[in-house]
């Protein structure tokens, strides 16, 4: 015999002003199965919860319905209260009479009537609820960080410091990422390498960190606490354990015409190379598309000269497979391609460059040894014009609809650095808006204007063209309502950034949700900003949204804190509202497994009695409750109705339908 208790909350006047809560409680009292109904000012308060607990004990309730605010708000509160009173927490249902009723209706009669129906619906459901117990799954005490830029490095260091093992998987030959390419960092103008490389070294030396460079995640199985990851270690044709980083091979390599990716293709490098001086690991890699040995079969000079015999042309990709408890995604960004922005003349003029290219041109380890020279003729530019928002905030389909966030600050930085180093250089900046929220950020931008005399022009550039050897930058000056054409020597495009394209594959492997701009989606924009909705997956850096270094580092540390919080647990509680097949009805047809995004469904051959003392073996579905997330896709796909969802069973939902529809 069901003994249901109903608790109607006033929520102060939030509910009580529109819904006659007393009448609701009175009406509900006569519902079959209801043995107790009460109303109270604040059910979620200590006293309100006490009321519930007391009623459960006194009236020996088998299920309760709370008519209150959204279950998204206090379902957990009331479940806890029920549990404390000895009732299974899943014997609680919430009737949302605030957000879905009192707040949207004005007429008391109407709202009260609806509240009664909503409570009845919840009663209908709770009568079919079954006690559920959360399962447990073990936690592998090791974390994986995908991406070895500053975000990945910071997250790995923090996790490692807490005593957990961490692997960094980096697709390039060295960790360091985009930050390693930068010259100076805002708003302090300290040297990027000076603050990054010590962290890279820390990673290499940390006993808990294993760096898998030149590697990519190939496959991910499992779930929070128990990810099973397959990692491809790409052949670098150099034995990592033997190479000492002496660079003799680089001196001898005859193939010197490869574009230097680290320097944004502004100069060349040898086929065998170490990406940059402070690379970690400091180990060479051979570009097999460029190497003569691979192209012609002849050469092998590096092999002859390598004193430790590290060169191995026969090396193949290998795979490692490891278990992880948590995964941090920190795949970073790249500037967008400028194919859709020919009006800025990037393709036709060598002296129209992107901001990241300028970083390399300004960097002491860059192609010009830090002397600002224009790429076309190696001359000093005397007029430098910056164009902001190239490809950002563009909803026409050519660029990206979002603000890339970092461009205003780095453009101010570039402008300042040029004026600092070359005071004879005129610097203009075309901007739409200058967006510099952040500690000491606007001050930084104002310094560029006030102290360094950078000419900020409000307006967008319409066309950049070459005339008599000069770059003519034609744009609007909206403040003066004029069209200006600035004769420039160098034009720098503050190019929009986009997530590193490989993040798509990573997202698919992790079933982490991703938006139309390829940014990974966080669980909650405000309250769970570093967690992916996929449990056990955390997001750091630009893969989640445009952000600068300070924000990236904060987010990485936040990820680390979340990961540590997960890894210190020995067991995880799992969501008990999972799918469950009725084996007696299951056809074993695999339709359910086909729609399961989590791979939670497997099939077993089981023996069943079929009457007359006979048995038969049938293929039946089996759901791993630790992996199932409880979406219910399988339940609808199942033709026989064998698959059902605990907590949202077909019977429960249909009883709700009935309660709403029956007049």
């Amino acid at each position: 015999m069901q003994r249901i208790g109903v608790f109607i909350c006033w929520c102060g006047s939030n509910i009580a002003a529109t819904v006659d809560v007393k009448r609701v409680a009175e009406t509900i009292k006569s519902e079959p199965g209801v043995v107790f109904a009460e109303n109270y000012q604040y059910m979620c308060s200590e006293n309100g919860q006490q009321l519930i607990k007391q009623a459960i004990r006194e009236h020996n309730l088998t299920g309760i319905v709370v008519g209150a605010c959204s279950p998204r708000m206090h379902e957990v509160t009331f479940r806890k209260a029920a549990e404390e009173a000895g009732l299974n927490p899943y014997m609680v249902e919430i009737a949302n009479i605030r957000e879905h009723c009192s707040w949207i209706h004005k007429d008391m009669e109407e709202a009260t009537e609806k509240a009664v129906i909503l409570v009845r619906t919840a009663i209908a459901k709770v009568k079919l609820n079954a006690p559920l117990t959360a399962g447990e799954s073990p936690v592998t005490k090791r974390a994986l960080v995908i991406g070895g830029g500053i975000a990945g490095i910071q997250a790995a260091l923090d996790i490692a410091e807490a005593g957990f093992k961490v692997d960094i998987v980096e697709k390039n030959a060295t960790i360091g990422g985009r930050m390693a390419q930068l010259d100076k960092t805002f708003p302090t103008l300290d040297c990027s390498a000076c603050i990054l490389t010590p962290k890279m070294v820390d990673c290499a030396q940390h006993e808990n960190i294993d760096i898998l460079s030149y590697s990519e995640v190939e496959d991910v199985k499992g779930f929070v606490g128990n990810f099973h990851v397959k990692i491809r270690r790409k052949a670098r044709y150099v034995d990592e354990t033997k190479c000492t980083g002496c660079k003799l091979c680089m001196e001898k390599c005859p193939s010197k015409k490869g574009l230097n990716e680290f320097n944004m293709n502004l100069n060349t490098r040898t086929a065998i190379h170490i990406p940059f001086a402070q690379a970690i690991p400091n180990v060479a890699v051979i570009d097999s598309t460029q190497c003569l040995k691979f192209k012609t079969g002849k050469c092998g000079i590096c092999q002859k000269f390598c004193e430790v015999g590290a060169i191995d042309f026969t090396q193949q990709d290998t795979f490692v497979e490891r278990q992880y408890g948590a995964i941090v995604v920190a795949t970073g960004f790249k500037p967008i391609a400028l194919d859709n922005f020919n009006e800025f003349g990037y393709a036709d003029n060598k002296d129209v460059i992107t901001s990241l290219e300028l970083e390399r041109l300004m960097n002491a380890a860059g192609p010009t040894n830090g002397v600002l020279l224009r790429p076309s003729d190696g001359q000093h530019p005397h007029v430098v014009t910056f164009i902001q928002c190239v490809g950002s905030r563009d909803t026409s389909g050519c660029g990206k609809p979002y603000c890339s966030k970092i461009c205003c600050m780095y453009t101010a930085k570039h402008a300042m650095m040029i004026r600092e180093k070359y005071p004879d250089t005129e610097v203009h900046v075309f901007y739409i808006d200058v967006r510099t929220p952040g500690k000491n950020y606007d001050e930084f931008h104002r310094r560029a204007v006030e102290q360094y005399g950078v000419d900020y022009i409000k307006g967008m550039v319409g066309k950049v063209y070459n005339e008599n050897g000069k770059l003519m930058v034609q744009g609007a000056n909206l403040i003066d309502n004029e069209q200006v054409t600035i004769e420039s020597d160098l034009v720098v495009l503050a190019t929009a950034i986009e997530p590193e394209p490989s993040v798509r594959k990573v997202a698919t492997l992790l079933t982490a949700s991703i938006d139309t701009n390829n940014f990974l989606t966080e669980s909650h924009a405000k309250l769970r900003p570093v967690e992916s909705p996929t449990a056990g997956v955390y997001l750091a850096g630009v893969c989640q949204g445009p952000k600068d270094i300070p924000e990236t580092v904060s987010q990485a540390s936040a990820c680390a804190a979340k990961v540590i919080g997960l890894l210190v647990k020995d067991k995880l509680k799992t969501n008990p509202c999972v799918a469950m097949p009725d084996e007696m009805m299951c056809n074993g047809c695999s339709q359910c497994a086909n729609v399961c995004a989590y791979g939670a469904i497997t099939y077993l051959d089981k023996e069943f009695r079929i009457g007359g003392g006979k048995t038969e073996i049938r293929r039946v579905a089996s759901v791993n409750p630790a992996v199932c997330q409880g979406c219910g896709a399988c339940t609808v796909t199942c033709p026989s109705g064998a698959m059902d969802l605990k907590g949202f069973s077909s019977k429960q939902i249909m009883s709700e339908v009935d309660a709403i529809c029956k007049k």
Binding site: S70, P71, R72, N96, R98, E99, H100, C101, W103, I104, H105, K106, D107, E110, A111, E113, K114, I117, L118, T121, T511, S513, I514, D515, T516, T521, P533, T534, C577, V595, A597, Q629, G630, C631, G632, A633, T635, V636, T637, L645, F648, S650, I653, M654, E656, V657, D658, I660, C661, K662, K663
Partner: protein, 150 residues
């Protein structure tokens, strides 16, 4: 006699299935933003729009619903990664079939409403209630078997 009852002001009974992560949250937002919509919309919370079995929809009509609306996360934003993609196919086929059988196609609707779209939720519900009110009581879906004159 029947004429008279039909002319009485008709308030439709509408069942809305909302996914927990987007549309139910969108409905909550509509509530906390005090965006009104008629009281004859009653919401059933499901984990994902892909939990909505066509049977539930038909059952609602059998029990006297005049309109059924299914709301889920926008395609690509599903909390369960791919759930609403399956919803989209199933519901597209179901809608087409109901239409094929001569059931008013306006009676059943699917909308993508995100957790941030409180305004959209309220607008959709207002519009849907209006549509169903104009359409009148659901008869065909409970009437298919009885022949004329019987």
């Amino acid at each position: 006699m029947q004429e008279v009852t039909e002319n009485k002001e008709f308030t439709p009974n509408i069942v809305a299935f909302c996914c927990n992560w987007c549309s139910y949250a969108g409905a909550d937002l509509a509530g906390s933003s005090r965006m009104t919509y008629p009281a004859n919309v009653k919401i059933i919370r499901v984990p994902c729009s892909c939990r909505v079995n066509p049977t539930f929809i038909l059952k609602a009509y059998q029990q006297g619903a005049d309109g059924v609306i299914i709301c889920g996360c926008h395609p690509g934003d599903c909390h369960y990664v791919t759930g609403n993609y399956y919803t989209r196919r199933r519901i597209a086929l179901l809608f087409s079939m109901l239409n094929y059988m001569g059931i008013e196609k306006e009676r059943t609707r699917l909308e993508w409403v995100s957790a941030a779209e409180g305004q959209k939720f309220s607008a959709v519900m207002n519009d849907f209630v209006k549509t169903i009110t104009e359409l009148g009581e659901n008869k065909r879906l409970t009437d298919l078997r009885v022949k004329e004159g019987e």
